[in-house]
Structures are given as structure tokens and as C-alpha cells.
């Protein structure tokens, strides 16, 4: 198996996840492996698997308002374990405090607002990836 870096999308709305994957894979092709998770809990399962397979986590895109763990808390936890990964938030509504908190504690790169434009998404990802 080749070791591609991984882009992980987390949202409780599957159609959002599917749309995201399509946009990203259209743009970046097989440069990345795309993983979807419907909740932070599932996201952790994916992350653990990735670690076992020794794959690098490049980007995490997370919703804020989700059942259970909120997006900012999730991203802070991810940042502790994967500080080098790029963190993005994609949300229809998030409290300013949560965004600020994520910026400070989770090294949040950008907070995208739903409905988003593909350009915004691609720009956000590209601006943080060296190549």
C-alpha cells in the first residue's frame, strides 16, 4: 500500500461529507486519501487506524455543531495528538468564542462558513500546504 497523506472530514451530515470528498478529490485527485466520519468518535476510530497503518494526517475539516463533542473541542484534541496537521472548521453556525478558542488552542487555520464556495475550500487547503 502506498502511503498517501490523509484528509479527514467530520460532519454529522453525510451529504456534506460526500460533497466535500467530491470537491477535494476533483481538485487534488489521488494526491490524498480521503476519509469521512459522521462524528468525532468515529473520527478517532479513523485516526487510530491511520496510525496503525503509519499514515500521515495532513488535514482535518470539521463541523462545529455535532452530536456529542463540539467541533472546537475535537480539533483541540486532534491538535494535541497531530500538531502538524492543518485544521479547518466548516460550519453553518459557531459561537465566536468557540472559533477563537479553536484558533488559540487548536491552531485553527480557517473557519469556513456554510454554504461555502469551492474556491474558498481549495484556497484554504492550498494556502497551508507547501506544494
Amino acid at each position: 500500500m502506498t502511503k498517501k497523506s490523509v484528509i479527514l472530514c467530520v460532519d454529522d451530515e453525510v451529504s456534506i461529507l460526500v460533497s466535500l470528498r467530491e470537491q477535494l478529490s476533483d481538485y487534488f485527485g489521488d494526491q490524498y486519501q480521503y476519509e469521512l466520519a459522521e462524528s468525532p468518535e468515529e473520527a478517532w476510530e479513523v485516526l487510530n487506524e491511520l496510525q496503525l497503518e503509519d499514515k500521515e494526517l495532513a488535514i482535518v475539516i470539521s463541523d462545529w455543531l455535532m452530536p456529542g463533542t463540539k467541533g472546537d473541542e475535537f480539533l483541540i484534541a486532534v491538535n494535541q495528538k497531530f500538531p502538524q496537521a492543518l485544521k479547518l472548521m466548516l460550519t453553518g453556525q459557531a459561537s465566536e468564542e468557540a472559533v477563537k478558542r479553536a484558533q488559540i488552542e487548536a491552531n485553527l487555520h480557517t473557519c469556513l462558513r456554510k454554504p461555502w464556495r469551492i474556491k474558498e475550500l481549495i484556497n484554504a487547503v492550498e494556502s497551508a500546504i507547501p506544494n
Binding site: S19, Y34, E42, K114
Partner: protein
Amino acid sequence: MKKPLNKLIYRSYLSSSLIPVLTVEVLLLVLYFGISTFITSKTMNLLLEEAKENLGEISSREAQKIDQELHEISTLARYMQNEQQYFFTNPDVYILPNGEPEFAVAANGVFYKKNNNGGSSLYYSSRTRITAKEHEKARRTETFDPLLKNIVTHNPKVVAAYFNSYDNMNRLYPFIPEVANQYGEHIRMEDFNFYYEADASRNPTRQPVWTDAYLDPAGNGWMVSCIVPIYNGNFLEGVSGIDVTIANIIDKILKLDLPWQGNAFLVSNDGMIIALPEKVENYLNLKELKSHVYHTHLTTTVPKPEEFNLLKNNDSAIVAQIRQLFTGKSSLINFQIQEQEFLLQQEIIPSTQWRLLFLVDKDAIFIPIYQLKTLSIHIGILVIILMILFYLAFFLYLVRKSATFAEKIAEPIVKLTEMTSAVSDNINGTLAIKSLNSQVIEVDQLEHNFRLMVTRLQDLFKSLREAHDTLEHKVQERTEALSKALEHLKTAQEELVQSEKMAALGQLVAGIAHEINTPLGVIRASIDNIKRGLNTSIYQLPSMLKMLPENQQNSLFTLIEQAMQVKKLSTREERQLRKTLIAQLQTWEVADAEQLGSTLINMGFHVAIEPYKELFLNTNIANLLKVAHSLVRQQNNSNNIELAVEKASKIIFALKTYAYFDHKGTVVETDIVNNLEIVLTLYYNQLKQGIELIKNYDNVPHIFCNPDELNQVWVNLLHNAIHAMATKGRLELEVKQEGNYVVVYITDSGHGIPPEIKTRIFEPFFTTKPLGEGNGLGLDIVRKIVEKHYGRIEFTSQPGRTTFMVFLPITKGDEV
């Protein structure tokens, strides 16, 4: 001790401003003078050390210079010695440079040269009998004259050059006209120091010798001579000499330009002063001997008087100091004459063994310091005078200022005192309060307070009287006011009810924004995806199909069809399936199995791939799948849009229904379950975060009610339930018919209502929420609405299970 106010102020002014400043100033002055004195003494020491060092250098240099000058004279003496000794060994070699001299014998028997022929004078003592031999010697020694003349004329320091013979002949330039009278008749050369000091016994080495100071028999006053013996073989023919007057030594040799107005003087080895400049004369209280008025002929050496010998001075202190200098190791001493302090530096002149002494007045060294010191004292005195003037002015200013100040404070206080006395006599309100016009804030405040107090007192008395007069009237007024207040309260209550409703709405809107933006995001992304996918499929599909065998074409279309059959999988299931697909493709050794597997999953292909083995072994499978994916995604994205639109419309419908306000309170036939479901839709985003929702609805009859108001009931009860569970737990909703009532049960698994507040939860303004989250009217409003519908509300609560039951009567429209 009690004192008048102005005196107190005056005292405090003095002690707080004048005295500390004065103390500081005096301290500064003391410091100034102290530092000035300290620096002066330091600098004096420094200057003294520097002067001593410089003096040593200067004196050594000057001594060398003087030594050189004396040495030059000694050299001249050697010339004479050479020339004259040659003459005596070769007496026949002679010249008469100025022609034949004319000799005569004077009345006193002295043989002498009569004519001044431009050469030297000649004298033969009457002690010597003049024979032809002596006459010839006198004549032939004219040979000496050119050298003697040269020595004198070319050397400004030299006054005379001479030759004295053993037989008392004297030849001396410049010419002495009355030489017989000048010397007298019977001079004997051996009696004079300028002869005997160079004789064989005293000067066996025949070197030039310097005499001590003596009085010149030739009439030139006090002088020293550099003398040399003239030998003819071992016979001493005579002694020649060069005379330097003391005056010349002082004026031409000792005239040194010394720093600090210092002076140099010469002393012989035995302490006799040889040459003393005028300034030093004054210090030593001596008058140097230079010229001399001759009353008698000198027949022997006349040395300087004993008082000129420093080692024999009358002042024993001077003698002791000079002795210390002569015998001690140091060439520099601190020298004291009477009370005056000097530095005394000695240098020994090698060619004569004379001591050259430098005398420097210490005061002269310290002159710059003394000038500075005087200046600093002047400045100090000036400062003191200025300070005294300043303090006089300041003191006068303070006296005036304190008087004005005291008056300023005291006057209003005195007035106030008077007025307070007046108040007690006249409380009925006729007392006019005069203005104090004080500029002091506190006094002004005092006046203000006093004025206030008086006014209050007056008012108090007035109102007491009035109250007494019009108590009945007052009661009536109060009653009126109370009823008005009651009305206000009612309005306020209505306003509060509305605000509680708006608060709940505000919280809802934030959540709803998310619920609407999410489907909007899906819609926008899907539209985008459709556009891009269409390009790939339209342009590439036909050419690709051409190259594909027919059976594989069919296979491909079947695959597309299967992918299009919408069958939602969870992401977890998808991942699992992807792994299976990839593993299967790998066993077929298909290139890039991972990418193909991912594409299959992405296009929604969720069934086994065994039937498509042949297709997947096609080398162009990656591109084929890509095109297939583009086709499938058209439908997938359309489906997504449809779902998203449905979702958004549902929320908007709920909002529309919720926001419908029926201000008239019209009663309409309503399905309670539907009514409850609308509110639930609005709370969906809060519920889905961790709350398990259990619905249990019976088929219940419609009732007549005001659905808008009932919305309020459900909003409040659901809101409380979610809050109690902190967004995690189980929410059970039940709608049942019980007798003549439709009953709604709302049960949460939250922390429950503590027994001590169970009786209070329906009280208005009672709340357990933090300040700002709710005004405590929610349940009060709920109860009011339910009671308005002739229903009732009840609850049971224990930790983990709290149920609110809303009983609504089943009625007909006209009954409400």
C-alpha cells in the same frame, strides 16, 4: 493648647515649607564648601607633586647648561695655558702685535706699561727688581695680548683675562690706565687666591680651577676666576686667569626663565654663596656683593663675608635645612624661611662642584588654586546673600499668604458658626442662608451640606405640619397612586412575558441558522460537482465506449445502474466496504487497486464486484471508472440537492408556523401532535447532539385552542427538559387521551427538581438559571396559558426522571 486658626496656619506654613527648604539649602551650602575645600587640598597635593617632578627635570637641564657655559670658559683657559707654556719654553719666539710697548717706573716704584696700544696693561710689583731680563719678559709677553683680547671681547660674560707671574708681574686685558695706583706698590701674587689655588701643591694636575668669590684687585668688583697654572717644564712661571664678575653670573648665567617665578643661585661646596639674584637676596635678607668702591689697595684675597655662607647663617633653622640638603640623599627639600614655604632643589655643576640651587615659592605653585578657591568662596558668599534675600522675600510672602489663607478659611467658618446658632432659634423656614463665597472645596461642601441640612430641617418641619393637616387627603392620593402602579405592573408583566418568548426565540434562531446553512452548503457543493462531472462524462464517454468490447460495455452500464440505486451507507460501513473491494481488486492484481476501490465507493457502488472481473482487468479501467463516476455523480448530487431542499423547507415551514402570531387569541381546531412536532423540528439541532428521542403518540382528537400560545408551552417545557439534561440523555414524548383530556407527557432523564423548590417552580421570577439566561417567568407563563385553556399542568420529579403533564380539555369551538 487651643490657638486661633490663622496662627495655626501660619505656624504650619513655616514648619512645613520654610524650615525644610532652609535646612536643605544650608546642607547644600555646607556640602558645597566642604567639597570645594576637599578638592582644593587634593589639587594642591597634586600640583605640588607635579611641581617637584618638573623642578627636578628643569634644574638638571639648567645645571647642564650652566656647566656647559663654565666649561667653555675653562676651555678658553686651556688655550691660554697652551699658548703661554709654549712661549716660556720658546722665549725667543715672540711677537709685538701692537708695536713696541712703552714702559715706565711710577713714583711708587712700580714698573708699568705707559701707553695703551690696544693691548693689555702691564704691572711689575716694586718687590721685584727690574733688570733687563724682567724688562724683556714684560716686553715679550706682549705676545699674549691677541688671545687675552679675543677672550674678553668675544665672550660677554668675561670681564678680564690676565697672566700673573711668579715674580709678581701682572698682564691684564683690558688695559688699566692707572695700573700703578690701582694695584699699589708691592703686590705679592702668592697672597691671592687667584694665584695660589692653582699652584703645584693645590693643583698638581695643572687643570683649570675655579676660585671662590673674591674682591678683584683690578677694580672690577666681586668675581670668580677660572685659573690655570703656566709651567715651563716643572717650573711654575705663573698663573693665568679669566675673570667673570658675580654681576655677570647673575645677569647672564643665572637669568633663567623658571616656572612658578622660581630663582636659581649658586653656592660653593662649603656653603658660600657665589651668586645670588635679587629676589633670593630678599628671602635670605642678604645684599649680594657685585660692585665695590675701592678705598685701599688690596694686598691679599678679600673673600665674601661669613654671613654669605649659608652653613654659617645666623638663622640656625636655615643652616640645618641647608646641611640636610648638602648631606642628604634627596636633591629636593621643603625649605622654610621664617614662615614662608619653599621648595629647594639642588644640582651639582660637575666642572666646578658648585651647587646650583633652585628656590620656588610654594605659594607661586598654588596661585591657580588660590584663584579658584577665592572664586569659589566668592560664589559661596554670593549664594548665601541671594539665599538670605530669597528667604526674606519668601518669609514676607508666607506671612502675607498665610494671613490671607487663614482669613479665607476662617471667615466662612465663623459665618457658618453664626448661622448655626441662628438656625436653632428659627427653624420655621424664614431663615435666609447667606452665601459664604469660600474658595475651599471642603468649606464649600460644608456650606452646601449646611444649606441642605437647613432646607431638609425646614422641609421636614413643613411636611410634618402639612402631613398633620392633610393626612386624610394623603391617604386618598396614595390609594390612587397604588391603583396606577398596579396598572403599570400589569403592563410590565405582559412585557416580561413577551420578552421571555423573544429570549427563547433568540436561542432557537442561532441553532436554526446552522440547520439551514448545512443544506445550503450541500446544495451549493452539489451544483458545483454536477457542473464539473458533466464535462468529463459528455466529452469522454463516447470515445471510450467505442474502444470497449460490447460485453464490457454492458458490464459497465450495469455497474453504473447499480451505483445509481440509492442505498445510503454510513461512513463506517463505507470504509469497511472499501477495504473489501480493494482487497478483492488486489487479488485480481489490478493496477492501482486502492484508487479504484476509493472511486467505486465514492460513486456509491455498494455491491460485490465479482461479476465485473473482466471489466476490471481492462487496462483502461481507471479512466472508464472515472467517466462512470462522472455520470453517477450527476444523479447522486441531484439526490443530495433534493434531500437538502426538503430539509431546509421543513425547517422554514416550522419557523413560519412558530412565528405565526395570532394576537386576537383566536381559537382554532388543532392537532396537538402536529403542534408539538413543529416545535420539535426547531429543537432538532439541540436534540441530535446527544439526546435520545422517544415518541409515543396515540391517535387523539383535535381540540380547539390557540396553537400559538400552546407553542409557547411546548417551547418552555422542552427547553427546560434539554437544559436539565445538559443536552445529553433521553427525552420521552407521549400524547394520550385520558377521559375528557388530551394529555401531553414530557419526560426527561435530567437531574430532577430538588424537593425544597418543588413548591416554588411556578412562581413568577423564580429561576435556577444563572443571571441573564432566563427571567424566571417561563413556567408561570406556561401555567397561565394552560389555565386559560381550562387545562392544568402537573409534574413528578426524581433524579433521572422528571415528567411534566399538560392536561388539555377536549372541547368544541363554541365552548372555549
